[in-house]
Symmetry: C2
Subunit: 198 residues, 2 copies
DNA sequence: CTGTACATATATCGGACCGATATATGCGGT
DNA sequence: ACCGCATATATCGGTCCGATATATGTACAG
């Protein structure tokens, strides 16, 4: 996730570590505050791997400031990271937010594909919550129940939000099609439970 | 967080590791799937620290099954963990869900205090998002903007949900007061930005 | 009865990211 | 001249993760 965020920001313009942390704090402020304990080691690792490169060092005397820029290799890796489904589902929500923030770098079809994959993920979560609600409705106390029910509501409204984004993206694609003179129609199944893995 | 969850579940009844993982998967299913790589080492650590104790081991031959129960010490630690504000703000949302699921073990006043602390946390997040929106409204593209705006909406609706829980809890407290013959009124400030740390 | 697929149960591994903290330098105010 | 704060980089121990290994019980098809 951090790797994706770093490459995405450096793609816009070269920066040093501290600057990266402020940029991230800005756009994802309330949701993800990157730790220096992750940032600087990761930057060095990315340099070692050739995905970023030093653009300028600070002066030999006085305050140092290591500015990094993205490399050709880094650009490739960035686009891969942007599309991949990572193993770590624990911080999947945060990861999706980061991915979405860089969606402008993806072609419309890929955007729709990723939005639908996310929709499938949330649909699965909704089913899992419903299963729990069915089986534990009686046993659970007020607060444990409130947790589940709020989770359900929040997930549902997230799905609706995603549907809006998908509709919007399709509309844009459609318009682009018309402008080119073609009146092609689109048939793309909206994935539901368990289908998004196929 | 895991420590809190384990102690809370063992407080209800003794269990072995695998059983704990299923229980957790049930109530917080879509949001937190505990990893064995955390669970078993943590169980052993808690045993070492005397917060849990083996209730029964499996047979010497055949399949083993190590059932743990909570100790007196563990009960104390549990109530502390339930109320403490941990350093880790990164997974604060998940942590609050876990805490809330065990709210029945706290007295009403403490519940209200924790709900208001959470409210303050979310109010701060909302302010952070608003700051970002103000300063980056122009620069940001559609999707980066959508991330922030959706974050804002979701945070707002979380706050409203919390307000409902707080109102509810106060009403219950009030009723209890009346039943005891006293008609005491409550004056408790709802914390807003930056005040929750004081 | 025998295979065999699946749930149960415990354990270990490397890795990602965290918060706290240390250590400097530059800068605005007093 | 001094202080406090933002800037800038670095390292530490710790939590939790997913993948994987290794068994045992159990249901069920051939």
């Amino acid at each position: 996730m951090l790797e994706l965020a770093i490459l995405g920001l450096l793609k816009q313009q070269p920066m040093h570590g501290y600057q990266l942390s402020r940029e991230l704090g800005g756009s994802l402020g309330g949701f993800w505050r990157v730790s220096y304990g992750s940032l600087y080691p990761t930057l060095r690792r990315l340099e070692r791997e050739g995905l970023v490169a030093r653009v300028s060092d600070g002066p030999s005397g006085g305050r140092r400031k290591t500015v990094y820029g993205i490399t050709e290799q880094g650009e490739v890796a960035f686009l891969e990271l942007l599309q991949e489904t990572p193993a770590d589902t624990s911080s999947e929500d945060a990861r999706f937010r980061v991915r979405l923030a860089f969606f402008r770098y993806l072609p419309p079809e890929t955007r729709i594909r990723l939005l639908e994959r996310r929709r499938g993920f949330l649909a699965d979560r909704l089913d899992a919550i419903d299963d729990s609600l069915r089986s534990e409705r009686e046993a659970a106390d007020d607060y444990a129940l409130a947790v589940m029910e709020h989770g359900r509501t929040a997930t549902e409204s997230d799905i609706e939000w995603l549907d809006g984004l998908i509709t919007n993206e399709r509309a844009k694609t459609e318009r682009r099609g018309l402008e080119r003179g073609g009146a092609r129609t689109h048939r793309t199944a909206v994935l539901s439970r368990k289908e998004h893995t196929s």
